[in-house]
Protein backbone atom coordinates (compact mmCIF):
# COMPACT_ATOMS: atom_id res chain seq x y z
CA UNK A 1 0.00 0.00 0.00
CA UNK A 2 1.03 3.54 -0.68
CA UNK A 3 2.15 5.77 2.09
CA UNK A 4 0.11 8.88 2.65
CA UNK A 5 0.43 10.50 -0.78
CA UNK A 6 -2.00 13.28 -0.06
CA UNK A 7 -0.78 16.63 -1.33
CA UNK A 8 0.23 19.84 0.39
CA UNK A 9 -2.08 22.68 -0.54
CA UNK A 10 -1.74 26.43 -0.69
CA UNK A 11 -4.77 28.68 -1.16
CA UNK A 12 -3.63 31.50 -3.44
CA UNK A 13 -4.45 35.11 -2.64
CA UNK A 14 -4.53 37.68 -5.40
CA UNK A 15 -5.27 41.35 -5.81
CA UNK A 16 -6.23 42.67 -9.25
CA UNK A 17 -5.18 39.31 -10.70
CA UNK A 18 -1.65 39.57 -9.27
CA UNK A 19 -0.53 37.01 -6.72
CA UNK A 20 0.34 38.41 -3.32
CA UNK A 21 3.97 37.72 -2.37
CA UNK A 22 2.81 35.63 0.59
CA UNK A 23 1.26 33.13 -1.82
CA UNK A 24 4.55 32.50 -3.60
CA UNK A 25 6.38 32.38 -0.27
CA UNK A 26 3.95 29.71 0.91
CA UNK A 27 4.27 27.70 -2.29
CA UNK A 28 8.04 27.75 -1.79
CA UNK A 29 7.61 26.48 1.77
CA UNK A 30 5.00 23.94 0.68
CA UNK A 31 7.53 22.62 -1.83
CA UNK A 32 10.04 21.81 0.86
CA UNK A 33 7.39 20.30 3.15
CA UNK A 34 6.07 18.21 0.26
CA UNK A 35 9.59 17.04 -0.61
CA UNK A 36 10.06 15.89 2.99
CA UNK A 37 6.81 13.96 2.71
CA UNK A 38 7.38 12.74 -0.84
CA UNK A 39 4.12 14.25 -2.09
CA UNK A 40 3.04 16.98 -4.51
CA UNK A 41 2.23 20.67 -4.06
CA UNK A 42 -1.14 21.85 -5.25
CA UNK A 43 -2.51 25.39 -5.32
CA UNK A 44 -6.11 26.54 -5.41
CA UNK A 45 -6.23 29.72 -7.49
CA UNK A 46 -9.55 31.55 -7.65
CA UNK A 47 -10.32 34.79 -9.45
CA UNK A 48 -11.34 36.24 -12.78
CA UNK A 49 -8.56 36.58 -15.34
CA UNK A 50 -5.98 34.87 -13.14
CA UNK A 51 -5.00 32.05 -15.51
CA UNK A 52 -1.71 33.77 -16.38
CA UNK A 53 -0.64 33.46 -12.73
CA UNK A 54 -0.48 29.67 -12.87
CA UNK A 55 3.02 29.80 -14.36
CA UNK A 56 4.28 31.82 -11.42
CA UNK A 57 2.87 29.19 -9.09
CA UNK A 58 4.57 26.41 -11.04
CA UNK A 59 7.82 28.36 -10.98
CA UNK A 60 7.54 28.65 -7.20
CA UNK A 61 7.15 24.89 -6.82
CA UNK A 62 3.56 23.89 -7.53
CA UNK A 63 2.88 20.62 -9.35
CA UNK A 64 -0.78 21.26 -9.95
CA UNK A 65 -3.07 24.28 -9.93
CA UNK A 66 -6.82 24.09 -9.43
CA UNK A 67 -7.94 27.05 -11.45
CA UNK A 68 -11.31 28.63 -10.79
CA UNK A 69 -11.55 31.42 -13.34
CA UNK A 70 -14.95 33.03 -13.34
CA UNK A 71 -16.53 36.50 -12.93
CA UNK A 72 -18.28 35.16 -9.81
CA UNK A 73 -14.87 34.49 -8.27
CA UNK A 74 -13.37 37.91 -9.06
CA UNK A 75 -13.65 39.09 -5.47
CA UNK A 76 -13.26 36.96 -2.39
CA UNK A 77 -16.73 36.00 -1.18
CA UNK A 78 -16.79 34.04 2.09
CA UNK A 79 -19.55 31.61 1.15
CA UNK A 80 -18.51 31.06 -2.47
CA UNK A 81 -14.80 30.61 -1.77
CA UNK A 82 -15.46 28.36 1.22
CA UNK A 83 -17.79 26.14 -0.82
CA UNK A 84 -15.32 25.79 -3.68
CA UNK A 85 -12.34 25.01 -1.45
CA UNK A 86 -14.23 22.65 0.86
CA UNK A 87 -15.71 20.87 -2.15
CA UNK A 88 -12.28 20.31 -3.67
CA UNK A 89 -10.68 19.36 -0.37
CA UNK A 90 -13.28 16.72 0.37
CA UNK A 91 -12.38 14.98 -2.87
CA UNK A 92 -8.62 15.57 -3.03
CA UNK A 93 -7.98 15.22 0.71
CA UNK A 94 -4.88 17.37 1.12
CA UNK A 95 -2.92 16.56 4.28
CA UNK A 96 -1.80 20.15 4.76
CA UNK A 97 -3.48 23.43 3.76
CA UNK A 98 -1.64 26.74 4.07
CA UNK A 99 -3.05 30.25 3.75
CA UNK A 100 -1.56 33.72 4.07
CA UNK A 101 -2.55 35.80 7.11
CA UNK A 102 -4.16 38.31 4.76
CA UNK A 103 -7.59 39.91 5.06
CA UNK A 104 -8.94 37.00 3.05
CA UNK A 105 -6.93 34.25 4.70
CA UNK A 106 -7.83 35.35 8.19
CA UNK A 107 -11.53 34.89 7.44
CA UNK A 108 -11.40 32.05 4.94
CA UNK A 109 -9.06 29.76 6.91
CA UNK A 110 -11.39 29.32 9.92
CA UNK A 111 -14.41 28.91 7.62
CA UNK A 112 -12.70 26.11 5.73
CA UNK A 113 -11.24 24.52 8.88
CA UNK A 114 -14.58 24.48 10.68
CA UNK A 115 -16.33 22.99 7.67
CA UNK A 116 -13.67 20.28 7.43
CA UNK A 117 -13.85 19.83 11.23
CA UNK A 118 -10.12 20.20 11.65
CA UNK A 119 -7.59 22.28 13.54
CA UNK A 120 -6.02 25.53 12.45
CA UNK A 121 -2.98 27.36 13.78
CA UNK A 122 -2.80 31.13 13.48
CA UNK A 123 0.16 33.19 12.35
CA UNK A 124 2.91 30.56 12.35
CA UNK A 125 6.54 31.65 12.26
CA UNK A 126 7.89 28.28 11.19
CA UNK A 127 6.63 25.01 9.74
CA UNK A 128 8.36 21.65 9.45
CA UNK A 129 7.66 17.95 9.15
CA UNK A 130 8.55 15.79 12.15
CA UNK A 131 9.67 12.18 12.21
CA UNK A 132 6.06 10.98 12.35
CA UNK A 133 5.39 12.99 9.18
CA UNK A 134 3.23 15.42 11.12
CA UNK A 135 3.33 19.15 10.46
CA UNK A 136 4.95 21.05 13.32
CA UNK A 137 3.63 24.59 13.53
CA UNK A 138 5.69 27.05 15.53
CA UNK A 139 4.27 30.19 17.09
CA UNK A 140 5.81 32.60 19.59
CA UNK A 141 4.29 32.58 23.05
CA UNK A 142 5.07 33.91 26.47
CA UNK A 143 8.73 34.63 26.13
CA UNK A 144 9.53 31.65 23.94
CA UNK A 145 8.17 29.54 21.14
CA UNK A 146 5.66 26.74 21.19
CA UNK A 147 5.05 23.94 18.74
CA UNK A 148 1.50 23.02 17.83
CA UNK A 149 0.42 19.89 15.99
CA UNK A 150 -2.89 18.61 14.71
CA UNK A 151 -2.16 14.89 14.79
CA UNK A 152 -5.57 13.24 14.50
CA UNK A 153 -7.50 15.25 11.96
CA UNK A 154 -6.77 16.22 8.39
CA UNK A 155 -5.97 18.50 6.78
CA UNK A 156 -3.50 20.19 9.08
CA UNK A 157 -4.13 23.89 8.52
CA UNK A 158 -2.05 26.99 9.24
CA UNK A 159 -1.89 30.66 8.36
CA UNK A 160 1.41 32.49 7.88
CA UNK A 161 2.08 36.22 7.54
CA UNK A 162 3.71 37.75 4.49
CA UNK A 163 7.47 37.88 4.91
CA UNK A 164 7.90 34.90 7.24
CA UNK A 165 9.26 32.71 4.45
CA UNK A 166 11.48 33.93 1.61
CA UNK A 167 10.33 34.20 -1.98
CA UNK A 168 11.42 31.04 -3.79
CA UNK A 169 13.80 31.28 -6.71
CA UNK A 170 11.67 30.57 -9.81
CA UNK A 171 12.37 27.18 -11.36
CA UNK A 172 11.10 27.02 -14.94
CA UNK A 173 11.60 23.36 -15.76
CA UNK A 174 8.88 21.72 -13.69
CA UNK A 175 6.19 19.47 -15.12
CA UNK A 176 2.81 20.62 -14.09
CA UNK A 177 -0.88 20.50 -14.64
CA UNK A 178 -3.82 22.90 -14.59
CA UNK A 179 -7.10 21.44 -13.42
CA UNK A 180 -10.06 23.71 -14.15
CA UNK A 181 -12.62 24.09 -11.38
CA UNK A 182 -16.06 24.09 -12.92
CA UNK A 183 -18.91 26.34 -11.82
CA UNK A 184 -21.57 27.40 -11.45
CA UNK A 185 -20.34 29.40 -8.49
CA UNK A 186 -23.39 30.46 -6.61
CA UNK A 187 -23.67 31.98 -3.21
CA UNK A 188 -26.43 31.31 -0.77
CA UNK A 189 -27.67 34.88 -0.99
CA UNK A 190 -26.79 35.51 2.66
CA UNK A 191 -23.87 37.81 2.01
CA UNK A 192 -23.82 40.41 -0.71
CA UNK A 193 -20.66 42.37 -1.43
CA UNK A 194 -21.82 45.84 -2.41
CA UNK A 195 -18.40 47.37 -2.93
CA UNK A 196 -14.70 46.83 -2.29
CA UNK A 197 -12.83 50.08 -1.70
CA UNK A 198 -9.05 50.39 -1.63
CA UNK A 199 -7.52 53.20 0.41
CA UNK A 200 -4.01 54.59 0.07
CA UNK A 201 -1.93 53.76 3.15
CA UNK A 202 -0.49 56.80 4.93
CA UNK A 203 3.20 57.43 5.63
CA UNK A 204 6.20 55.37 4.68
CA UNK A 205 5.25 51.77 3.91
CA UNK A 206 6.55 49.51 6.65
CA UNK A 207 7.27 46.55 4.38
CA UNK A 208 9.93 48.34 2.42
CA UNK A 209 11.28 50.93 4.90
CA UNK A 210 15.04 50.86 5.50
CA UNK A 211 14.48 52.14 9.01
CA UNK A 212 11.52 51.12 11.15
CA UNK A 213 10.61 52.75 14.41
CA UNK A 214 8.09 51.03 16.65
CA UNK A 215 6.35 52.57 19.63
CA UNK A 216 4.77 50.74 22.53
CA UNK A 217 2.80 51.10 25.72
CA UNK A 218 5.57 53.23 27.21
CA UNK A 219 4.40 56.19 25.11
CA UNK A 220 1.87 56.67 27.91
CA UNK A 221 -0.67 58.78 26.03
CA UNK A 222 -1.38 60.62 22.79
CA UNK A 223 1.25 63.26 23.56
CA UNK A 224 3.87 60.61 24.12
CA UNK A 225 2.81 58.92 20.91
CA UNK A 226 3.11 62.19 18.98
CA UNK A 227 6.77 62.39 20.03
CA UNK A 228 7.37 58.90 18.65
CA UNK A 229 5.59 59.79 15.41
CA UNK A 230 7.69 62.97 15.13
CA UNK A 231 10.90 60.98 15.57
CA UNK A 232 9.81 58.56 12.84
CA UNK A 233 9.16 61.46 10.50
CA UNK A 234 12.48 63.06 11.40
CA UNK A 235 14.36 59.81 10.66
CA UNK A 236 12.37 59.04 7.52
CA UNK A 237 11.40 55.81 9.23
CA UNK A 238 8.31 53.66 8.81
CA UNK A 239 6.21 53.95 11.97
CA UNK A 240 5.07 50.69 13.50
CA UNK A 241 3.71 49.77 16.89
CA UNK A 242 2.95 47.06 19.43
CA UNK A 243 -0.52 45.93 20.30
CA UNK A 244 -1.12 48.20 23.30
CA UNK A 245 -0.64 51.20 21.00
CA UNK A 246 -3.46 49.86 18.84
CA UNK A 247 -5.63 49.09 21.87
CA UNK A 248 -5.12 52.61 23.18
CA UNK A 249 -6.09 54.09 19.84
CA UNK A 250 -2.75 55.80 19.15
CA UNK A 251 -1.94 53.76 16.08
CA UNK A 252 -3.77 51.82 13.38
CA UNK A 253 -3.97 48.04 13.43
CA UNK A 254 -2.33 47.93 9.99
CA UNK A 255 0.87 49.29 11.52
CA UNK A 256 1.18 46.66 14.24
CA UNK A 257 4.39 44.67 13.89
CA UNK A 258 4.61 41.07 14.98
CA UNK A 259 3.11 37.65 14.93
CA UNK A 260 -0.45 38.75 14.28
CA UNK A 261 0.55 41.91 12.45
CA UNK A 262 3.13 42.92 9.87
CA UNK A 263 6.52 41.38 9.27
CA UNK A 264 9.24 43.93 8.53
CA UNK A 265 12.86 43.59 7.47
CA UNK A 266 14.55 46.97 7.88
CA UNK A 267 18.28 47.71 8.11
CA UNK A 268 17.71 49.52 11.37
CA UNK A 269 15.00 49.03 13.96
CA UNK A 270 14.24 51.30 16.91
CA UNK A 271 11.84 50.18 19.63
CA UNK A 272 10.59 52.94 21.90
CA UNK A 273 8.76 52.18 25.15
CA UNK A 274 8.17 48.54 24.42
CA UNK A 275 9.16 45.44 26.33
CA UNK A 276 10.46 43.21 23.53
CA UNK A 277 7.78 40.54 23.81
CA UNK A 278 8.31 37.66 21.38
CA UNK A 279 5.00 38.28 19.64
CA UNK A 280 6.29 41.68 18.60
CA UNK A 281 9.96 40.87 18.04
CA UNK A 282 9.30 37.98 15.63
CA UNK A 283 7.96 40.61 13.27
CA UNK A 284 11.43 42.06 12.74
CA UNK A 285 13.58 39.94 10.49
CA UNK A 286 17.24 40.38 9.71
CA UNK A 287 17.75 43.94 10.96
CA UNK A 288 21.45 44.89 11.01
CA UNK A 289 21.11 47.31 13.87
CA UNK A 290 18.55 47.25 16.67
CA UNK A 291 18.04 50.06 19.18
CA UNK A 292 15.76 50.31 22.21
CA UNK A 293 14.67 53.12 24.50
CA UNK A 294 13.08 51.94 27.72
CA UNK A 295 12.97 53.34 31.24
CA UNK A 296 13.64 49.95 32.81
CA UNK A 297 17.24 48.75 32.55
CA UNK A 298 16.06 45.20 33.23
CA UNK A 299 13.53 45.18 30.40
CA UNK A 300 13.90 42.06 28.23
CA UNK A 301 14.02 44.29 25.16
CA UNK A 302 17.64 45.11 26.00
CA UNK A 303 18.61 41.46 25.48
CA UNK A 304 17.56 41.76 21.87
CA UNK A 305 19.18 44.99 20.71
CA UNK A 306 22.62 46.41 19.94
CA UNK A 307 22.19 49.86 21.45
CA UNK A 308 20.13 50.83 24.45
CA UNK A 309 19.03 54.00 26.17
CA UNK A 310 17.60 53.71 29.67
CA UNK A 311 15.34 56.70 30.04
CA UNK A 312 11.77 57.92 30.08
CA UNK A 313 10.99 58.22 26.38
CA UNK A 314 8.68 61.15 27.01
CA UNK A 315 11.60 63.11 28.41
CA UNK A 316 14.27 61.65 26.19
CA UNK A 317 12.68 62.05 22.76
CA UNK A 318 12.43 65.87 22.86
CA UNK A 319 16.14 66.00 23.69
CA UNK A 320 16.94 63.48 20.97
CA UNK A 321 14.91 65.44 18.42
CA UNK A 322 16.84 68.56 19.40
CA UNK A 323 20.20 66.76 19.09
CA UNK A 324 19.19 65.45 15.66
CA UNK A 325 18.38 69.01 14.60
CA UNK A 326 21.77 70.23 15.89
CA UNK A 327 23.53 67.37 14.09
CA UNK A 328 21.77 68.20 10.84
CA UNK A 329 22.68 71.87 11.17
CA UNK A 330 26.32 70.99 11.75
CA UNK A 331 26.31 68.69 8.72
CA UNK A 332 24.75 71.39 6.59
CA UNK A 333 27.29 74.01 7.62
CA UNK A 334 30.40 71.99 6.79
Amino acid sequence: MMENANPVWVIADQENCNLLPVTLQLVGKARSLADDLGVSVEVVLLGDGVEAQADNLFGAGADRVYLGNDPELANYHPDVYTDVIVGLAEVQEPQIVLLGSTSMGRELAPLVAARLKTGLTAHCIDLCINKDKILEQVIPAYGGEITIVCPERKPQMATVAQGVFPLPVPDEGRTNEIVPVEGPFQHKGRVEILEVVMEEPEGIPLDSAACVLAGGAGAGDHNGWDLIARLAKELGAGLGCTRPAVDEGWAELETMIGQSGKMVSPETYLGIGLSGEQQHMVGIAGAKTMVAVNNDRKSPVFNQVDFGVVDDCREFLPVLLEKIREYREKQASC
Binding site: A114, G119, T121, Y142, I146, M198, P244, V291, D306
Partner: protein
Amino acid sequence: MLKIVVCVKAVPDPKKACDIKIDPKTKTLLRCDVPMVINPLDKHALEAALQIKATGEAYITVLSMGPPNAGAIVKECLALGADKGILLSDAAFGGADAFATAYTLAMGVQKNGAADVVLCGMASSDGATEWVGPEMAVMLDMPVVTMVREIVAHNNEAWEVKAALENGYRHMKVRLPAVFTVTRDLNTPRTLSFSGIIKARKKEITQWGLDDLGVPAEKVGLKGSPTIVTEMRAVENTRTVEFMEGTREEKAEQLVQKLAEVGVL
Protein backbone atom coordinates in the same frame (compact mmCIF):
# COMPACT_ATOMS: atom_id res chain seq x y z
CA MET B 1 -37.28 42.06 18.86
CA LEU B 2 -33.70 41.59 17.76
CA LYS B 3 -31.92 38.94 19.80
CA ILE B 4 -28.24 39.69 20.09
CA VAL B 5 -25.66 37.42 21.68
CA VAL B 6 -22.32 39.03 22.51
CA CYS B 7 -19.42 36.65 23.13
CA VAL B 8 -17.08 38.02 25.75
CA LYS B 9 -13.92 36.37 26.92
CA ALA B 10 -12.24 36.86 30.26
CA VAL B 11 -8.56 37.45 29.53
CA PRO B 12 -5.61 38.11 31.77
CA ASP B 13 -5.16 41.88 31.96
CA PRO B 14 -3.09 42.60 28.80
CA LYS B 15 -1.24 45.26 30.73
CA LYS B 16 0.14 42.56 32.99
CA ALA B 17 0.47 39.84 30.38
CA CYS B 18 4.22 39.44 30.84
CA ASP B 19 3.60 37.65 34.11
CA ILE B 20 1.89 34.73 32.40
CA LYS B 21 3.92 31.61 31.99
CA ILE B 22 3.28 28.26 30.43
CA ASP B 23 2.76 25.28 32.72
CA PRO B 24 5.46 22.82 31.60
CA LYS B 25 3.36 19.82 32.67
CA THR B 26 -0.11 20.52 31.32
CA LYS B 27 1.17 22.83 28.58
CA THR B 28 -1.63 25.25 29.21
CA LEU B 29 -1.27 28.77 30.47
CA LEU B 30 -0.82 29.48 34.13
CA ARG B 31 -2.91 32.56 34.45
CA CYS B 32 -3.72 32.48 38.14
CA ASP B 33 -1.95 35.58 39.39
CA VAL B 34 -3.07 37.94 36.66
CA PRO B 35 -6.38 39.76 37.16
CA MET B 36 -9.04 38.92 34.58
CA VAL B 37 -10.62 41.64 32.48
CA ILE B 38 -13.04 41.75 29.53
CA ASN B 39 -11.13 41.14 26.32
CA PRO B 40 -10.70 44.74 25.03
CA LEU B 41 -12.28 44.11 21.62
CA ASP B 42 -15.31 42.40 23.17
CA LYS B 43 -16.17 45.70 24.85
CA HIS B 44 -16.59 47.15 21.39
CA ALA B 45 -18.87 44.23 20.45
CA LEU B 46 -20.98 44.84 23.54
CA GLU B 47 -21.06 48.58 22.87
CA ALA B 48 -22.35 47.93 19.34
CA ALA B 49 -25.17 45.84 20.81
CA LEU B 50 -25.99 48.50 23.40
CA GLN B 51 -26.14 51.19 20.72
CA ILE B 52 -28.50 49.05 18.62
CA LYS B 53 -30.68 48.55 21.66
CA ALA B 54 -30.76 52.29 22.24
CA THR B 55 -32.30 52.83 18.81
CA GLY B 56 -34.81 49.99 18.79
CA GLU B 57 -35.94 46.83 20.46
CA ALA B 58 -33.16 44.41 21.27
CA TYR B 59 -32.43 41.84 23.91
CA ILE B 60 -28.75 41.41 24.69
CA THR B 61 -27.33 38.17 26.04
CA VAL B 62 -23.69 38.04 27.05
CA LEU B 63 -22.07 34.64 26.63
CA SER B 64 -18.71 33.63 28.02
CA MET B 65 -16.86 30.37 28.38
CA GLY B 66 -14.31 30.32 31.15
CA PRO B 67 -13.47 29.40 34.71
CA PRO B 68 -16.01 30.27 37.44
CA ASN B 69 -14.23 33.54 38.22
CA ALA B 70 -15.02 34.72 34.67
CA GLY B 71 -18.48 35.33 36.12
CA ALA B 72 -17.12 38.68 37.26
CA ILE B 73 -16.71 39.94 33.73
CA VAL B 74 -20.18 38.69 32.78
CA LYS B 75 -21.47 40.68 35.74
CA GLU B 76 -19.59 43.70 34.48
CA CYS B 77 -21.31 43.34 31.09
CA LEU B 78 -24.68 43.24 32.87
CA ALA B 79 -23.74 46.42 34.68
CA LEU B 80 -22.88 47.97 31.32
CA GLY B 81 -26.42 47.24 30.14
CA ALA B 82 -26.69 43.65 28.88
CA ASP B 83 -29.98 41.93 29.73
CA LYS B 84 -28.82 38.40 30.41
CA GLY B 85 -25.53 36.76 31.28
CA ILE B 86 -24.51 33.17 30.59
CA LEU B 87 -21.31 31.59 31.80
CA LEU B 88 -20.30 28.28 30.27
CA SER B 89 -18.12 26.77 32.93
CA ASP B 90 -17.10 23.20 33.50
CA ALA B 91 -13.82 21.44 34.19
CA ALA B 92 -14.43 19.57 30.93
CA PHE B 93 -14.27 22.84 28.95
CA GLY B 94 -10.68 23.54 30.05
CA GLY B 95 -7.77 23.57 27.60
CA ALA B 96 -9.97 24.24 24.57
CA ASP B 97 -8.42 25.43 21.32
CA ALA B 98 -10.31 27.75 18.97
CA PHE B 99 -12.28 24.89 17.42
CA ALA B 100 -13.50 23.45 20.73
CA THR B 101 -14.16 26.96 22.06
CA ALA B 102 -16.24 27.83 19.02
CA TYR B 103 -18.14 24.56 19.34
CA THR B 104 -18.92 25.07 23.02
CA LEU B 105 -20.01 28.67 22.48
CA ALA B 106 -22.15 27.64 19.49
CA MET B 107 -23.87 25.06 21.68
CA GLY B 108 -24.45 27.80 24.25
CA VAL B 109 -26.00 30.06 21.62
CA GLN B 110 -28.26 27.25 20.49
CA LYS B 111 -29.40 26.33 23.96
CA ASN B 112 -30.22 29.96 24.64
CA GLY B 113 -32.68 29.96 21.72
CA ALA B 114 -32.61 31.48 18.27
CA ALA B 115 -30.19 34.39 17.96
CA ASP B 116 -30.48 36.98 15.21
CA VAL B 117 -27.00 38.38 15.63
CA VAL B 118 -23.88 37.00 17.30
CA LEU B 119 -21.18 39.56 17.96
CA CYS B 120 -17.56 38.75 18.75
CA GLY B 121 -14.37 40.70 19.05
CA MET B 122 -12.06 40.37 16.08
CA ALA B 123 -9.48 38.69 18.30
CA SER B 124 -8.85 37.87 21.93
CA SER B 125 -5.79 39.40 23.53
CA ASP B 126 -4.48 36.08 24.84
CA GLY B 127 -5.53 33.64 22.14
CA ALA B 128 -5.58 36.07 19.24
CA THR B 129 -6.42 33.42 16.68
CA GLU B 130 -9.39 35.37 15.30
CA TRP B 131 -10.93 31.98 14.60
CA VAL B 132 -13.70 31.73 17.18
CA GLY B 133 -16.22 34.02 15.41
CA PRO B 134 -15.98 32.47 11.93
CA GLU B 135 -15.84 28.91 13.27
CA MET B 136 -18.97 29.52 15.36
CA ALA B 137 -20.65 30.87 12.24
CA VAL B 138 -20.00 27.61 10.42
CA MET B 139 -21.24 25.56 13.36
CA LEU B 140 -24.41 27.68 13.62
CA ASP B 141 -24.81 27.68 9.83
CA MET B 142 -24.76 31.48 9.75
CA PRO B 143 -22.83 33.81 7.46
CA VAL B 144 -19.99 35.78 8.98
CA VAL B 145 -18.26 39.08 8.33
CA THR B 146 -15.00 39.63 10.18
CA MET B 147 -13.36 42.93 11.13
CA VAL B 148 -16.49 45.07 11.01
CA ARG B 149 -15.52 48.69 11.50
CA GLU B 150 -18.85 50.37 10.79
CA ILE B 151 -22.51 49.38 10.94
CA VAL B 152 -23.95 51.39 8.09
CA ALA B 153 -27.57 50.33 8.42
CA HIS B 154 -29.42 47.70 10.38
CA ASN B 155 -32.89 46.25 10.74
CA ASN B 156 -34.24 42.90 11.88
CA GLU B 157 -33.71 41.26 8.48
CA ALA B 158 -30.28 42.42 7.37
CA TRP B 159 -27.26 44.47 8.39
CA GLU B 160 -25.16 46.58 6.12
CA VAL B 161 -21.57 46.85 7.34
CA LYS B 162 -18.14 48.02 6.35
CA ALA B 163 -15.39 45.58 7.18
CA ALA B 164 -11.69 46.40 7.22
CA LEU B 165 -9.28 45.08 4.62
CA GLU B 166 -5.53 45.58 4.76
CA ASN B 167 -5.75 48.72 2.64
CA GLY B 168 -9.40 49.55 2.46
CA TYR B 169 -12.76 48.04 3.26
CA ARG B 170 -15.57 45.83 2.02
CA HIS B 171 -19.10 47.15 2.08
CA MET B 172 -21.46 44.24 2.56
CA LYS B 173 -25.08 43.45 3.16
CA VAL B 174 -25.70 40.40 5.31
CA ARG B 175 -28.96 38.60 5.90
CA LEU B 176 -29.69 37.69 9.51
CA PRO B 177 -29.08 35.54 11.45
CA ALA B 178 -25.37 36.28 11.17
CA VAL B 179 -22.09 36.48 13.06
CA PHE B 180 -19.97 39.63 13.04
CA THR B 181 -16.53 40.20 14.53
CA VAL B 182 -15.67 43.81 15.28
CA THR B 183 -12.61 46.05 15.38
CA ARG B 184 -11.92 48.86 17.78
CA ASP B 185 -12.74 51.46 15.12
CA LEU B 186 -16.42 50.55 15.40
CA ASN B 187 -17.16 52.65 18.49
CA THR B 188 -15.96 53.89 21.86
CA PRO B 189 -17.13 51.60 24.64
CA ARG B 190 -18.97 53.24 27.52
CA THR B 191 -17.66 53.00 31.04
CA LEU B 192 -19.43 51.60 34.08
CA SER B 193 -22.00 53.79 35.75
CA PHE B 194 -23.10 53.61 39.35
CA SER B 195 -26.74 53.07 38.41
CA GLY B 196 -25.69 50.26 36.06
CA ILE B 197 -23.88 48.51 38.87
CA ILE B 198 -26.94 48.81 41.11
CA LYS B 199 -29.25 47.45 38.39
CA ALA B 200 -26.91 44.57 37.65
CA ARG B 201 -27.17 43.39 41.24
CA LYS B 202 -30.65 42.14 40.49
CA LYS B 203 -29.66 40.37 37.28
CA GLU B 204 -28.75 36.70 37.57
CA ILE B 205 -25.96 34.94 35.75
CA THR B 206 -26.97 31.62 34.22
CA GLN B 207 -24.26 29.02 34.53
CA TRP B 208 -24.21 26.02 32.21
CA GLY B 209 -21.90 23.04 32.35
CA LEU B 210 -21.38 20.01 30.15
CA ASP B 211 -24.63 18.31 31.20
CA ASP B 212 -26.68 21.45 30.62
CA LEU B 213 -25.38 21.73 27.09
CA GLY B 214 -26.00 18.02 26.59
CA VAL B 215 -22.88 17.48 24.50
CA PRO B 216 -20.38 14.62 24.75
CA ALA B 217 -17.23 15.35 26.75
CA GLU B 218 -15.09 14.32 23.75
CA LYS B 219 -16.26 17.36 21.82
CA VAL B 220 -15.23 20.05 24.31
CA GLY B 221 -12.12 21.26 26.08
CA LEU B 222 -8.76 19.65 25.56
CA LYS B 223 -10.36 16.41 24.28
CA GLY B 224 -12.38 18.26 21.66
CA SER B 225 -9.39 20.25 20.45
CA PRO B 226 -7.83 19.12 17.17
CA THR B 227 -4.66 21.07 17.90
CA ILE B 228 -2.31 20.41 20.79
CA VAL B 229 0.81 22.05 22.12
CA THR B 230 3.71 19.61 22.07
CA GLU B 231 6.76 21.61 22.89
CA MET B 232 7.95 24.86 24.39
CA ARG B 233 11.29 26.50 23.97
CA ALA B 234 12.99 29.58 25.25
CA VAL B 235 14.39 31.82 22.55
CA GLU B 236 18.08 32.60 22.59
CA ASN B 237 19.30 36.14 22.44
CA THR B 238 21.93 36.78 19.83
CA ARG B 239 22.74 40.41 20.54
CA THR B 240 24.65 42.17 23.28
CA VAL B 241 23.48 45.60 24.22
CA GLU B 242 25.72 48.62 24.52
CA PHE B 243 24.06 51.23 26.72
CA MET B 244 24.36 54.94 26.09
CA GLU B 245 25.44 56.39 29.44
CA GLY B 246 25.66 59.81 31.06
CA THR B 247 23.23 62.67 31.26
CA ARG B 248 20.14 62.77 29.08
CA GLU B 249 21.91 65.11 26.66
CA GLU B 250 24.96 62.86 26.51
CA LYS B 251 22.84 59.78 25.86
CA ALA B 252 21.04 61.59 23.06
CA GLU B 253 24.31 62.73 21.51
CA GLN B 254 25.73 59.21 21.60
CA LEU B 255 22.60 57.80 20.02
CA VAL B 256 22.70 60.43 17.27
CA GLN B 257 26.28 59.34 16.64
CA LYS B 258 25.27 55.69 16.38
CA LEU B 259 22.36 56.51 14.08
CA ALA B 260 24.72 58.50 11.86
CA GLU B 261 27.20 55.61 11.76
CA VAL B 262 24.56 53.15 10.55
CA GLY B 263 23.33 55.62 7.97
CA VAL B 264 19.95 56.53 9.41
CA LEU B 265 20.99 60.18 9.73
